[in-house]
């Protein structure tokens, strides 16, 4: 149980980092358009194929 004395603070720090990154991503507009990436990854990149 003594391991928890280290692990819990580490977990909390990781969570804080995660929230910071998440908030940055939202501010950067990563979550604005959730529909088109799901479709565009299926499209072929024909330009590359021709080259």
């Amino acid at each position: 149980m003594e391991s928890l004395d280290i692990l819990i603070p580490i977990a909390m720090i990781i969570v804080v980092i995660a929230i910071t990154i998440l908030l940055w991503a939202i501010n950067n507009g990563q979550f604005d358009d959730l529909e088109s990436p799901s479709e565009t990854i299926l499209f072929d990149d024909t330009k590359d194929k021709q080259d």
């Binding site: 149980m1 969570v15 604005d32 088109s36 299926l42 072929d44 330009k47």
Partner: protein, 818 residues
């Protein structure tokens, strides 16, 4: 019936196919040169898979006119650019543009890939949901106007990104909501993790007090931001309600959160976490998370509805020619002031309200009045913003700029009408108010009773407070109506009065106007009657040659007859007598083509019949041929009437036109009830009579001569564009001029009613079942939280089913879009 459809825009092609474009080795039919050029550019770039991937058809391609290219060059000036262009770190420029015409993800793919192939472009990012394009480019290699021109080349339109106040507010609201949701979600997960440890410790009874305290302190740490940041919208709304001396459901939610949080905080900080005493941090976090997700979905529905009605505002051109210091210069229309003199070329849109200065002209005010035939304007007549100048260059003195114009005022009317709550939703909020008060009363009673006579008072009270939240009532009905309205907007039906969705469900009789509603209001050449042995084809060729460079209704009807555009006569000495006809010389003969009195000096001549519009062609003052023009049915009319009959609606035609054409039309459509030659008062009487016979009437007209009738009908629909409101008091507008929207609307109204009923039923049953259980103490706070938020989510998701619904057998792709 057309058997060919344009491969690019998917609209039907009525005559023989004149243009083909080779895409991926196969020749595909095209409806016009515009679509053909766009398709060829797409094929040349190797992007033909666009046609396989797209889920919706694109709009018909535009013509790249010189005026357009000139207008785009305006955007190369730095002072025009400051609002939407900025410098990036590597000395490049970044512009935000709004792209119009995007219909699905394949469009985004096509645009991004096509633009990336252009020299000088560093990056292109286009958002499907907002249609915003972010382009970074090197200004020494390519100009912004060239980039914008490329967008037009592949069939889209673009303009500077200039969102209005409302859009900005909504955009930031959505971002903030996402952040709150994220914090609540992560908080909930962390707290749950420690809470399970505590529950496990409870179960096995070997959790030391030291670790119990530690876990609880951590829970406090994670729950605090959830309560103070994520849940703040609820507190704000509750505070507003209390300030207005009313109670809404956010009040009970806020109370639940505050009680749970403070009691748990007290247990941990003051009481030092005695084992066996419940704390509610996990419930609070999950509760807030679920509630926020419900609100988030509702926000997105509202956002979607707002965005789908955005396209109304870009009817106007960006620039016009203004008289300044002795010559005409190009200025942005936003810079126009009253008393400015401006010049408008034929085919252009009039950019402001004003007075005609030059000689008699002809304008098309369909966008304002719904009247699709052009109107003659004399000097000093009023000209309306957004009407189209049809025949010749005119000069106008501005009286009101576009932002103050009649059409702008009408648009504001539409926006404000959208804010008014429908009657049923208000009923629901009233129910919610009484219900919440009752619940608070019950909760307090239960608390006092259990505090003095039993145990677990706080626990039970929290359950009661949380579980009986009337979210379903207050949330779901507006969301259903929002979803329906948003869907209808997309289908081309713009609702301006709030009762439309509920009233449409009660309609059993549909009354149609004829001209401009069932028919297109555009003339078609239906008969050629040569006089005394002249050859019909020869007469047609003469007429077409004379009409070649004009753009009015009759000219277009003649030009439709052209099969081979090279084979016409050369015409000299053309003259246009506005409102009467045209004249010209071919092979040394003087021809006149127009009204009887204009074409021939013999006033005794009469039209062959009274149907339609007759035009006379005379050669050297000798009549040689009659041409007849009639109005043609809209392509979708037959199918729409069939569908409406299929859902058992009584159909009536009410027209001011002569008996013969109305009878002919009614027979063609299989309608037995029709009235001809009725003036507005008589139309009013007929509708009133129907209503006295207990019919609920939906009236569909084109606004201009139907004003009294439209205001009397239970639900009224006007054809044509936006500002019909000012003149016609209609409840809704068919902005795409496509009658198919009527069928969809009736179907959607019925679905809305069903879904609202389902929502109310679920909300009622849920609350009735759960409240006794809560009072008896059989529901833990966390069960209550899940139950309530899940029920709200269920109700909202049920309402969202309305967003994409359409009448099953009819699609507006099949029957053309305008």
């Amino acid at each position: 019936m057309p058997s060919n459809h344009c491969y690019h825009c998917e609209l039907p092609i009525y005559s023989t196919v004149k243009w083909y474009a080779t895409i991926n080795g196969v020749a595909r039919p095209m409806c016009c040169l515009g679509c053909k050029s766009v398709a060829e550019i797409i094929a040349a770039g190797g992007f033909h898979t666009y046609y396989n991937n797209r889920t919706q058809a694109t709009d018909t391609a535009n013509e790249i006119t010189d005026q357009l290219i000139q207008e785009l060059r305006l955007y190369d000036h730095p002072d025009q650019q400051h609002s939407f262009v900025r410098k990036t770190n590597n000395n490049q420029l970044e512009a935000n543009l709004l792209i119009q015409g995007i219909s699905c993800a394949a469009c985004v793919w096509l645009l991004e890939n096509h633009l990336k192939t252009i020299d000088g472009i560093a990056s292109v990012n286009i958002s499907l949901s907002s249609h915003k394009a972010q382009i970074v480019w090197n200004s020494e290699v390519i100009k912004l106007s060239d980039i914008m021109r490329q967008v037009y080349y592949i069939g889209y339109k673009c303009k500077p990104w200039d969102p209005d106040q409302q859009y900005n507010i909504q955009f930031h609201e959505q971002r903030n909501f996402t952040k709150r949701l994220a914090v609540a979600g992560i908080g909930a997960m962390q707290v749950m993790m420690f809470a399970i440890a505590i529950y496990a410790g409870d179960f096995s009874s070997d959790l030391s007090t030291k670790y119990l305290s530690i876990f609880n302190y951590i829970n406090v740490l994670f729950t605090t931001p959830v309560v103070f940041y994520s849940a703040s919208p609820f507190f704000a709304s509750a505070a507003r309600a209390i300030k207005n001396s009313t109670i809404n459901m956010d009040v009970s939610i806020s109370l639940a959160i505050i009680f749970a949080y403070s009691s748990s905080l007290w247990t941990v900080l003051i009481n030092h976490s005695p084992p066996g005493v419940a704390v509610y941090f996990d419930s609070i976090c999950m509760f807030v998370f679920f509630l926020l997700s419900g609100r988030f979905l509702e926000l997105k529905a509202r956002y979607f509805m707002y965005r789908s009605s955005e396209t109304l505002t870009d009817l106007l051109p960006k620039s016009c020619m203004k008289w300044h210091n002795g010559k005409f210069i190009q200025v942005a229309i936003t810079d126009l002031q009253p008393n400015d003199l401006i010049r408008i070329a034929p085919g252009e849109i009039i950019p402001a309200d004003g007075i005609l200065i030059s000689a008699t002209c002809s304008v098309n005010e369909a966008i304002i009045s719904g009247e699709s035939l052009p109107v003659t304007k004399h000097t000093n007549d009023k000209l309306l913003c957004a009407s189209i100048n049809t025949e010749q260059t005119i000069q106008m003195r501005v009286t009101k700029k576009s932002s103050n114009s009649e059409i702008a005022k009408a648009l504001q009317l539409v926006n404000s009408a959208e804010q008014v709550k429908p009657k049923i939703a208000n009923l629901a909020t009233t129910i919610a108010k009484w219900f919440t008060s009752a619940v608070l009363l019950i909760a307090t009673t239960v608390f006092l009773y259990r505090y003095f006579y039993a145990d677990n008072a706080l626990y039970i009270m929290l359950s009661v407070l949380v579980v009986t939240c009337p979210c379903a009532l207050s949330l779901a009905i507006p969301v259903a109506i929002t979803a329906t309205t948003g869907n209808l907007n997309r289908l081309g039906l713009l609702i301006t009065k709030s009762h439309v969705v509920e009233s449409l469900n009660l309609v059993d009789t549909i009354v149609f106007d004829k001209t401009g509603t069932l028919t297109t209001g555009n003339l078609k050449l239906t008969s050629i009657q040569p006089i005394a042995n002249t050859d019909a084809d020869y007469c047609l060729k003469l007429a077409v040659s004379l009409e070649e460079c004009y753009d009015h209704q009759i000219a277009r009807a003649f030009k439709q007859q052209l099969n081979n555009s090279n084979d016409i006569f050369t015409v000299t000495a053309r003259k246009n007598f506005v409102g009467n006809g045209i004249a010209g010389t071919i092979n040394n003969n003087y021809y006149r083509l127009g009204t009887v009195n204009f074409a021939s000096s013999n006033s005794k001549l009469e039209h062959p019949t009274t149907d339609g519009q007759w035009v006379l062609l005379t050669e050297n003052n000798i009549p040689i041929c009659w041409f007849n023009f009639t109005d043609s049915l809209r392509p979708e009319t037959k199918n729409v009437i069939k569908a409406l009959k299929g859902i058992n609606k009584q159909i009536i035609i009410l027209s001011g036109d002569h008996l013969n054409p109305v009878t002919k039309l009614a027979k063609e459509l299989g309608i037995n009830n029709f009235y001809a030659q009725k003036n507005p008062e008589q139309k009013l009487e007929i509708v009133k009579q129907l209503q006295q016979n207990k019919c609920k009437v939906l009236m569909i007209g084109d606004g201009i001569n139907d004003v009294p009738v439209l205001s009397v009908a239970d639900v009224s629909l006007a054809m044509g564009c936006v500002a019909n409101l000012n003149t016609s008091s209609a409840d809704a507008i068919l902005i795409k001029n496509n009658l198919v929207a009527v069928v969809h609307a009736l179907y959607l109204a019925k679905k809305n009613h069903t879904i609202t009923f389902e929502n109310l039923l679920w909300a009622g049953c849920y609350n009735i079942c759960v409240l006794p259980l809560a009072i008896m103490g059989m529901i833990a706070p966390w069960m209550a939280a899940i139950g309530m938020t899940l029920s709200s989510l269920l109700v909202i998701t049920n309402s969202l089913r309305l967003i994409n619904k359409k009448f099953p057998n009819l699609s507006d792709k099949q029957h053309g879009k305008s």
